[in-house]
Symmetry: C2
Subunit: 382 residues, 2 copies
């Protein structure tokens, strides 16, 4: 029979069985979206030498003293190092290029008056103008990025530009997916696979072993985590808990969330097994509340929900039962949230038509109309 445990208890049990996986090295250019397994420090100053911030002409600022429209000072334009020691030289530079040794400022090309190989300077420039000093981007030895950072596109560029061509990232967890619900066609398997991808894992092709083959399929899994869809309920055909007990270890039957109260948890060796309810709405919520946090721990990400949030004022009240965490789908318009579905409506289309959901905690009986609530936004970007 079901003996639902509080979500916190389920989360704590799973946290004890889901530590971040070991690191693997990947090319920095391919690391966007991956999770750093160790902090990255800068090996050296960057830039290593003073660098032009704009396109223009590098020159010695002191030699421009006294320049004005009435007294333009001529600089001779040179390429390369020839005659570095000569006074009043100007070197064409492009943004990002090292400033030659004899120069300490850059005159932007827009302000330059060029006559053949002679540059007329019409105003004095100050030392350091339009020059990026050595070490401005980062100092050698400085902390660049902490372990656990989900690498952004800009991070990739910085790593490469600092010469960090490979980085240690957390291996992506593999999740086995076993579907035992009886619907034809199955929507839950592909949905859960997409959720696993979203959370930084690799979802295996769903397996459909049937009730009889479930224990064997569980025993054959070599994944970091196994997600079973269906077979969690108390019905005569719901054999997931029994199969888990037979093939591995059953930790608990039932988690106090709604929908999703039949969610069942255990393990096969070191791999947590989470049995999600067959109906897809319940599978979605149970994934987000129970399985997702475990998968994200394996992936080196935080266990927090991967949805953006916003505040909204409820159009109508939400009534909820005590003793379970409830998911109320809402539609958001402006600052208002309209509850689309309370617990008696468990159709998947409510989640499809919703912009997000409101969580009603275990110890709450709901929220009054006009209450300000936090909406978790289903991510349009996926």
């Amino acid at each position: 029979m079901l003996k639902p445990v509080p979500l916190d208890e389920a989360g704590a049990w799973l946290a004890g069985h889901a530590a971040a996986l070991r690191a693997e090295e990947v090319a920095s250019g391919d690391a966007a979206g991956r999770v750093l397994a160790a902090p990255v420090k800068a090996a050296a100053d960057h830039p290593r030498v003073p660098t032009a911030a704009v396109d223009g002409f590098a020159l010695d600022a002191e030699a421009s003293t006294g320049a004005s429209d009435y007294n333009p000072l001529p600089f001779s334009v040179s390429h390369g190092d020839e005659g570095t020691a000569a006074p009043n030289r100007a070197w064409p530079v492009v943004s990002g290029q090292a400033v030659p040794g004899g120069a300490d400022a850059v005159l932007p090309i827009e302000e330059a008056a060029l006559r053949g190989r002679v540059l007329d300077v019409h105003a004095p420039v100050a030392s350091g103008d339009h020059v990026i000093p050595a070490g401005r981007e980062t100092r050698g030895g400085a902390d660049l990025m902490p372990a656990g950072r989900v690498l952004r596109p800009a991070d990739i560029a910085l790593l490469l530009e600092l010469g960090v061509s490979r980085v240690p990232v957390v291996r992506r967890p593999r999740a086995g997916i076993i579907v035992v619900r009886r619907d034809v066609p199955d929507g839950g398997g592909p949905m859960v696979r997409a959720l696993v991808t979203r959370d930084g894992g690799i979802g295996a092709e769903p397996m459909y072993p049937g009730d009889e083959g479930l224990a064997g399929a569980l025993a054959g899994c070599t994944d970091d985590l196994v997600l079973v869809i269906g077979g969690s309920g108390p019905g005569t055909n719901d054999r997931a808990a029994g199969a888990l007990e037979e093939a591995g270890e059953l930790a608990f039957r039932g988690v106090a969330i709604s929908p999703g109260e039949t969610t069942t948890v255990g393990r096969m060796g070191s791999a947590p097994v989470i049995v999600l309810p067959g109906p897809s709405l319940a599978a979605l919520f149970a994934y987000d509340m129970v399985a997702g946090p475990a998968l994200r721990r394996f992936a080196g990400r935080g266990p927090v929900l991967p949805y953006g949030t916003r505040s909204a004022v409820l159009d109508r009240k939400i009534a909820s039962g005590l003793g379970r965490l409830e998911c109320c789908r809402v539609r958001v318009s402006g600052d208002r949230a309209e509850p689309l579905a309370v617990s008696d409506n468990r159709t998947l289309s409510t989640a499809v038509h919703a912009d997000g959901f409101v969580l009603v905690p275990e110890q709450s009986e709901g929220f009054a109309a006009g209450a300000e609530v936090t909406v978790h936004l289903y991510d349009q970007r996926y």
Copy 2:
């Protein structure tokens, strides 16, 4: 020379050259994150017949009238259709299963008292209890999802369960990436490729043809959109505008954004070409403001920024020049935003260390300390 156009003007020109690409059909199970190219309607009622909402026993509610703890009414448990006409039959059902023809309610298994093949009913049940009526999920012919929707994992499940096994989605735009900046190693190419992936496109392997090979590389591109990195500036070696003029059409040199003012736009045949500045911070902002919206139009997504937003109060003032849209990177802590970098600091590390950025409009000279601003959050989830 640079003649920066307002961002609106650049956006309008690109919008005129970037319509959503044609549709392609994919398996619904693989369509998460893709953009629907046409609305999807439900072909039929779902569920097609009344369905059990819980595991339990289906029965005729009327036959339970008068049941109580003192007067339990016996129902005989049967499987299949044999004896459908007989009174007081009960059929074991699991959640999601069709309710047999002789039944109109489901008694949850937790409330059932079973003696062998006899089910004792201790309280009357009402017609419709724990039964999902036909068409509750959706009605045949109803609008399920509009064109332009970015398909979520739950959408995938609903489509499959309604029998929609394939869906028309917008083809993912292919972006060519040509790097002409002179830095070794290059960070901009991989960064831009990751940004293209984020926005629903397919970024080609970056090409490094050198200044001399640029016009040829442009002419050889067969992509939907071409992104050139570097060579946009007014310097003597910045040949992207010339190459574009030679191989295709130059629309304008310069966009009034900072950083990124040298961004150059044109086209090769029907493919827009956007030349992003070489320095990666400027390339990032120019991508987000100029290239990203065009790519997302091709991809059937809106041109809006793909970052979440939040309000925050500025810790310090932001000073900005008139006449250009400026990007100020900020760090967010609680409700406060601390400006990390104003226009004179163009180091990429400011974007890496920032939580997001504040946009200062063309007609604004900035924001005072204490002002409430909108922060665009760099997406940790990528």
